[in-house]
Amino acid sequence: MRDVAVVGFAQRQMEEFDGSPTCVEMLVPLFAECYEQTGWTRKDVGFWCSGSSDYLAGRSFSFVQAVDAIGVTPPVNESHVEMDLAWAMYEAWIKIQTGEVDTALVYAFGKSSAGVLRRTLAMQLEPYTMTPLWPDTVSLAGLQARAGIDAGVWDETAMAEVVHRSLGDAERNEYAVRKGASSVEELLARPMYADPLRKHDCAPVTDGAAAIVLAAGDRARDVRDKPAWISGLAHNVDPMSMGTRDLTRSPSAAAAAAGADVDGVEVAELHAPFSHQELVLRRELGLADDVAINPSGGPLSGNPMFSAGGIRIGEAARKIWSGEAAKTLGHATSGPALQQNLVCTMEGRA
């Protein structure tokens, strides 16, 4: 395999974006940041790939206008996945592995606040028997949380501890939509939202966009002293059916971790939009107790749909660039109750 590294990352997260339902105008400043970080122009980018959702934007072809943000001419080598940024990055990584290109810029965007997100996501379910019941995302996550509590795999205190740590760490993240340390006791005293979930157990509805830059070999070394070399990148999916899955587990997360070599990871950014899902992921990824989880504050502090998974990879890459860690992990999820998962490990070797 070719050595490929994450060498650029830019993000925006906000409670409500005052602009178009697609957020594509957010991309121009993000690309500018990527060019500034890399010293490149658009002509240095060998491949572009984006992630977005038409249902989130409430229209068909939401990604089409995003291409305008790249610029009109010359035409670009470009693709799009109806998935999170992390999978757009996967497609770009594959493209670089074929040897066709040496560099890629991937991006994603989405305005969750344009509709009622938890209801929009019900459109993701099995359309014949599930969607007509309109089980919303928060309720489904509540069922999952309850299943874990009933099985004795976790409890409300463990969930509150995840929230406490996340919102405390989020105070150092300028993009965090929700932040502020409290105490486990105080969090547990707050009212139920979708029993056993309290509002803080659920990621805030977030608008945003993000971009990641990949480069191979010397192109990466030209950009940074310590590129975040991708040492493992794998993804996997479980059946959707909530009735046939053990909701306390996520086999696809374990499979992705097995394919990405997580041994020796010091920092893990986990895309767990609900507090108990972090507990599921720590177990499935086999992360040791001394691994620092979500130092950015994680998705409980901000979760822009279709870029939040990629943001986890970007945050994990920054820890390599800064020399704070030698090996980090970024994780992304999609679908109800951790159905689909991707794991990317990065190392700071020379």
Binding site: S53, V72, I94, L121, M123, H235
Partner: protein, 387 residues
């Protein structure tokens, strides 16, 4: 590491119809997938990864349907990707699946593209009013008709060229048991007599709205060695250009010309018309045949219609185009690009049945989408590529 050789060893498609009420979305996909797997001599369990492609989710009314389809498509426990690049998506999806093999990451990839247009209404799905955007409400025909008029004005083509294409493709479709339209007795005269929809595009010059799917099994060199007739991938390309921009030429877009140039270079082709034995080109409205013939370099600018008029693009012509009946005869939008890619592969494998071009050894698969701004193409051949 250099690009690994990859080949198509299995091809499957559904019978395309206006409404496939006998199958669900999963059933539609499996119909194509099971045919592709049988062709490849593989089972779903042996597949390493699944790549799904389709056009906008509003066409069926399910957000990211690959998630609920994951288990039925045999993707559970495997990597699953979902590609969406507008009308070119069937082609782009095949290219993404190929790249998984060419990157050396997987050896046996199954890709499926589908559209079940009868679940929703494409005109509605394409015309949802968007705040702060100029409404088009024209559908695809209304959008492309001015481009066709512009082509006719520029090239001086006679008015019946589009009808020649339509009559040819509809008659080719009679030889393809999977085609949606089997309109016996279509002639240039009958096409010219059909109703004008979007001047100069007549009813019989437009694609149908279909339910259908196409699936391909793409394999590495060692796996393909056991196939009696692999279609080797000689080149793939994707190019996109922006929507806005006064400098755009939507009749002969730069993204199309750039894509073709890059593709021919990859495949080692210098004279496409002499070195390509047949082409499956995305022609949703008849006039796009001469337009794309020029853009792809099969004819000089302004000369494409002469190739069509001469009969060169007929099944027994010098440069056969859309022997399957093309998009004009079957149009499950998300799958239409993969059908072009798959039909090109069928031809070089010698498996195209009644619409086989004698001795086809190298073929082009082509797809485009958006406002003539997204392009995906590949060249496949019966011989392993030289480099």
């Amino acid at each position: 590491m250099a690009k690994q050789p990859a080949a198509v060893i299995g091809i499957g498609q559904t019978h395309h119809r206006a409404k496939r009420e006998d199958v669900s979305m999963a059933g539609l996909c499996r119909e194509a997938m099971d045919r592709a797997l049988e062709d490849a001599g593989l089972t779903l369990d042996e597949i390493d990864a699944i790549v799904v492609g389709k056009a906008p989710d509003l066409f069926e009314g399910v957000m990211m349907p690959e998630l609920f389809l994951a288990e039925a498509l045999g993707a559970a426990g495997k990597p699953l990707l979902r590609v969406h690049t507008a009308g070119s998506v069937g082609g782009s999806t095949a290219i993404v699946a190929s790249s998984l093999v060419q990157a050396g990451v997987h050896k046996k990839v199954l890709t499926v593209a589908y559209e079940k247009q009868s679940e929703s209404n494409a005109m509605w799905a394409l015309s949802v009013p968007i705040p702060f955007n100029m409404p088009v409400h024209a559908g695809a025909g209304g959008y492309f008709a001015p481009h066709v008029r512009s082509y006719i004005r520029r090239s001086g083509a006679p008015n019946h060229i589009g009808a020649i294409v339509a009559a040819k493709d509809r008659n080719n479709a009679l030889k393809n048991p999977y085609a949606h339209l089997h309109n016996e007795g279509t002639t240039v005269e009958s096409v010219m007599a059909s109703q004008m929809l979007w001047d100069p595009i007549r009813y019989d010059e437009t694609c149908p709205s279909s339910d259908g799917a196409c699936a391909l099994v793409i394999a590495s060199e060692d796996v393909a060695a056991s196939s009696p007739n692999p279609a080797w991938i000689h080149g793939t390309v994707m190019r996109s250009e922006a929507t806005s921009g006064a400098e755009r030429d939507q009749v002969n877009p730069q993204a199309s010309r750039d894509a073709a140039a890059a593709l021919w270079k990859q495949a080692g082709i210098t004279h496409p018309i002499d070195e390509i034995d047949m082409a499956e080109i995305y022609v949703p409205f008849s006039w796009f045949e001469p337009m794309w013939l020029e853009s792809l370099g099969f004819a000089e600018p302004g000369e494409g219609w002469k190739l069509t008029e001469s009969g060169a693009t007929a099944l027994d012509g010098r440069m056969p185009v859309n022997c399957s009946g093309g998009v004009l005869s079957s149009n499950p939008i998300g799958a239409s690009g993969m059908l072009r890619f798959g039909e090109a592969a069928l031809q070089v494998r010698g498996l195209a049945g009644e619409h086989q071009v004698d001795g086809a050894r190298r073929a082009l698969g082509h797809a485009y989408g958006g406002g003539s701004q997204f392009f995906a193409m590949w060249v496949v051949g019966s011989e392993k590529p030289a480099s």
